[in-house]
Symmetry: C2
Subunit: 452 residues, 2 copies
C-alpha cells in the first residue's frame, strides 16, 4: 500500500504516548472505583429515534449503513453515540428492574461527532463520565460529591492545575425572576454569550431579546461577574439586592458545594456565576473546568444536575453527572509536551541470547522474572551483545540480563549507570520505580530525565 496518512479528527498515539493515555485511564478508573462507582459500557450505537427524543439532534451524528446492503435498503437506523449521557439514560430505563438505586456508575468510552476538527475538538474522542442516578428522588449532597471525585482525579494526575467552576441553575433562574425577567431561559442564552460578545453587547441583548429593563440587565451582568473560591460570593450576590425564593435555594446549594470543597480540597472548586452550560437540561449545580494556563482549549470536564435524566412515563430518574474529556486533556498533556512516559514499552528487562542454541535458557530466565511480576522480553536474535544492548536502549528498557555460561552465575546491567552485577532471576528485583513505565511531567527548565 502507499504510505497512508492520518485522518483529521481521529487522533492516534505512538506507543510512548499511549502509555500516557493508559496512565490517565487507569487513574480515572482507580479513583472512580475507590468511590464505589461501578463500571458499565454501552454499545457504540443507539437507534436514531432514541437520540432524537429531545426533538432534535444538534450534534453531527454518524449514521451507519451496511456496505453490502441492497441499494433500496434504508439506513440501519443506528447512529454512533455522540456522548455517554444519552446511552446511559437509555440503559437506566432499560435495565431499571435489575439496578439498585441510587445507582453510581462510571463509563469510559469513545464517542463520535462528525464536526469540523480543530485543536481540542475531535471526531473520535474518549470521555470518562460518572453519574449518580436516583429513582424518583436524589439527595442534593451528591452534587457536592461528583465535583470532589473529579477534583481527586485531577490531583492524582501529572497535569496543570484544574479549576472546577460551579454555578447553580436555581440561583440564576431565581435571580433573573427576582429582577423581573419573564423568560429566564432567554436571559441565560444572552448571558451565555458574554465571553463571545462582551458585556455591552450582552446588555443590549438582555433588553432587546429578554425584555429586561436597563437596570435589571445591569444587575444580571453584575451577577455574572461574581467569582470566588470561598463562600464570599453569597454576600456579593446579596449585595445586589435581589429577592426570590428560588434564588435563596440556589444560593444555599452553591454555598454548600463551595464550602465542602474548600474544606476538603482547597482551591479545587470555584464559584463562577457566569457559567451557564448552554441550553442543556440542567436544573441545579452546573460544572465546567478550566486548565490553568490552557484556558484556550475550553472546558475539560463539565456536567450538572438534571431532575429528569430519564423517564419511562411512570418513573422519573433524577441524576447528577460530570464528564471528563480525556482526549481533550491528552491533547494538552501530550500535544503540548507537558508529560512523557519514561519508556515506550512495558518491558523492564531484556534477556540477552548468547546463541540461538541457548534461546531456551533465556526464555526460562524471562519466565522466572515474569512469574515475579517483572515485565520481560527476550532478545529477538542472538546478535552481538552490543547490538542487543542497543535494542533495549532504543526502547528505554532499563535492564539487560545476561544468562551465565554453564555453571556461571547470571548478571544484569543497568543501562543508565552502566553498572553490571551478578543476579539470580528467582530473587533479583528492579527498583519499584523501574518496574513499569512511569508518566512524568516534563520540566522545560531542566535537562530531560533519563537522557543518556
Amino acid at each position: 500500500m502507499s504510505r497512508p496518512g492520518p485522518l483529521s479528527g481521529f487522533p492516534e498515539f505512538l506507543p510512548a504516548d499511549r502509555i500516557v493515555e493508559q496512565h490517565v485511564l487507569d487513574t480515572v478508573r482507580r479513583v472512580f472505583e475507590l468511590h464505589g462507582f461501578a463500571s458499565i459500557e454501552t454499545r457504540a450505537v443507539e437507534p436514531l429515534e432514541q437520540m432524537l427524543r429531545k426533538g432534535e439532534i444538534d450534534k453531527e451524528v454518524y449514521v451507519l449503513r451496511r456496505l453490502h446492503a441492497p441499494a433500496d435498503e434504508p439506513d440501519s437506523g443506528l447512529g454512533l453515540h455522540f456522548d455517554l449521557t444519552v446511552p446511559f439514560a437509555r440503559y437506566v430505563v432499560q435495565h431499571a428492574g435489575q439496578l439498585e438505586f441510587p445507582f453510581r456508575r462510571h463509563q469510559v468510552q469513545k464517542v463520535w461527532r462528525g464536526e469540523r476538527p480543530q485543536e481540542g475538538r475531535y471526531r473520535e474522542f474518549t470521555q470518562a463520565d460518572i453519574d449518580i442516578v436516583g429513582r424518583d428522588t436524589l439527595a442534593f449532597h451528591h452534587e457536592v460529591e461528583v465535583a470532589l471525585v473529579m477534583a481527586e482525579v485531577f490531583r492524582a494526575l501529572p497535569m496543570p492545575r484544574a479549576e472546577i467552576l460551579v454555578n447553580n441553575r436555581k440561583l440564576a433562574e431565581g435571580f433573573f425572576r427576582g429582577v423581573g425577567a419573564e423568560d429566564p431561559p432567554a436571559v441565560l442564552r444572552a448571558v451565555d454569550k458574554l465571553d463571545k460578545l462582551g458585556p455591552s453587547r450582552v446588555a443590549e441583548l438582555l433588553q432587546a431579546e429578554a425584555g429586561l429593563s436597563a437596570g435589571a440587565a445591569e444587575r444580571c451582568l453584575a451577577l455574572a461577574g461574581i467569582r470566588s473560591a470561598d463562600t464570599s460570593f453569597v454576600a456579593a450576590v446579596r449585595a445586589l439586592g435581589v429577592e426570590h425564593p428560588l434564588l435563596d435555594e440556589g444560593l444555599a446549594e452553591l454555598e454548600a458545594v463551595v464550602a465542602a470543597a474548600a474544606a476538603r480540597m482547597p482551591g479545587a472548586v470555584v464559584a463562577d456565576l457566569k457559567i451557564a452550560r448552554g441550553l442543556d437540561y440542567y436544573t441545579g449545580t452546573v460544572y465546567e473546568t478550566r486548565l490553568v494556563g490552557h484556558e484556550d482549549v475550553g472546558s475539560i470536564c463539565s456536567g450538572g444536575r438534571y431532575d429528569a435524566l430519564a423517564t419511562d412515563g411512570r418513573t422519573t430518574y433524577p441524576g447528577v453527572g460530570i464528564s471528563l474529556g480525556v482526549s481533550r486533556l491528552l491533547g494538552v498533556l501530550v500535544g503540548r509536551g507537558l508529560v512523557r512516559a519514561t519508556r515506550s514499552v512495558p518491558s523492564c528487562v531484556l534477556v540477552a541470547v548468547t546463541d540461538e542454541a541457548s534461546r531456551e535458557r533465556s526464555e526460562h530466565v524471562a519466565g522466572v522474572l515474569r512469574a515475579r511480576g517483572i515485565p520481560t522480553e527476550v532478545a529477538p536474535s542472538a546478535a552481538k551483545f552490543g547490538k542487543q544492548i542497543r535494542h533495549a536502549d532504543r526502547r528505554g528498557i532499563p535492564f539487560v540480563w545476561f544468562p551465565g555460561a554453564a555453571g556461571e552465575p547470571d548478571s544484569v546491567k543497568d543501562l543508565r549507570s552502566g553498572e553490571q552485577g551478578q543476579a539470580d532471576a528467582g530473587t533479583w528485583s528492579p527498583p519499584e520505580a523501574d518496574r513499569h513505565p512511569r508518566v512524568v511531567r516534563v520540566d522545560p527548565t531542566t535537562p530531560e530525565e533519563g537522557t543518556r
Copy 2:
C-alpha cells in the same frame, strides 16, 4: 421514553457481569505487558479503499454518513474496522519511521460487522490481539512465542480448558505438492470443508476440483486426520510416505512449536493437521483454539504467520499474530453461567450516616479508607441503620462502617458473619480477598458461595 429494548448483536452487561469483563480485560493486558507487548489503539474507522486493498471486502462493513450531510454529499468514505489486523497493518506502514522493529504490540478494542447475529457471533465485539512484526525479516521463534503467551492468558483466567490447535501452511502445501497437487490452495479449500461435508464428499472434491488422484486424495485426508499433543505427529506424517522440501521445513517448524509448548505449558498446544484458517494470507504456523466442552462456539482465538502483513512497496513487514475473541469467550463464561463476580459494585465498605448533620463525619471516614486503597461509599441517606445495611447487602458490599458518637470508637460489621467490632479507619483493613470484587467459577454441584 418507552421502555427501550436490547439491539440484537450488540451485547451489553449489567454491572456484575461487566466486572467479569473487566477481569478478563485486565488479565489479558497484564499477561501481554509482562511479555513486553506495547499497547496501541487505532481509530475506529478506516478509509474504505484501505479495507478494499485485498481486492474485496467479504466482511459486512458498516459505512458512516453524517446525519446532517447534504443529500448530494457522498458517504464519508469511512467504515468501522471489522478486525484489528487491517488497521494495525496500516498503522505499521504509516508510523514505520517512528517504531522499533521487531515491534511487539497488543491491541484490545471493539470491532464491528453487520452480520446476522447468533450465539458467539456479534455485530459489536471486542478482540484482544498480539502481533510481532519485523522489517524485512522475522525470526521463526516468535511463532512459538505468541501461542505460549495466549496459553498463559488462558491459564490465568477462570475458564474451561482451552486447546490451541496448530498447523503449518508450509507443511500442508509441501505435502499437497508432494502428492502431486498442482493447485495447493484448491486442496486447502477442499480440506477446509471437512467438518462441514465429511471425508467422502471431500475426497470427491479433491479429485473433481483439485485434480488429485484417488490415492493422493486419500493421503491428504489421512494427513488431515493427524492430531497429537506431542511431537508424535511427525512420525505419523512421515509414515504417509510423502516427500517435499517444503514439507520438511513445515514439519520441523511445527515440531518446534509443539515441542516448546509441551515443555513449557503441557497440554496447552496440540498439533491438528486439519486446521486450515480459511483462505487467509497465512504462510507458516496457523492457530485456532477450542474451549473444551464448548466447541460449538467455534474458535475463540486464532491467527498465524504472514510473510507480508504490510508493505509500502519498498519494505515488507512480516508478522505473526493471534487474536482472542473476548466477547465470544465472555459469551461462554457469562452467557453460560460459568463464572460470576463476588459483588456488583467496587465498594468494599459502606459508611453509615447517623444523621444528615453528621454526614461530613462519615465522609471523613470514607476519605481515610480510600486514601488507604479501600473502595468505599457513604450511605446515600441517614435512614434507619437496618435500611442502610440492606443497601449494602443488596449490592454485595461486605462491610458496613458505623462512625461512633462523640468520644466513642467507630465499629465495622461484616455482613456475612454478622460480627461487629471496634475499628479505626486509619489502621483497619479488610481481608485482601474482600478489597476488590473477585471473579469466581460457579460450581454447579455446591451451593453458591456467599449465599446469605
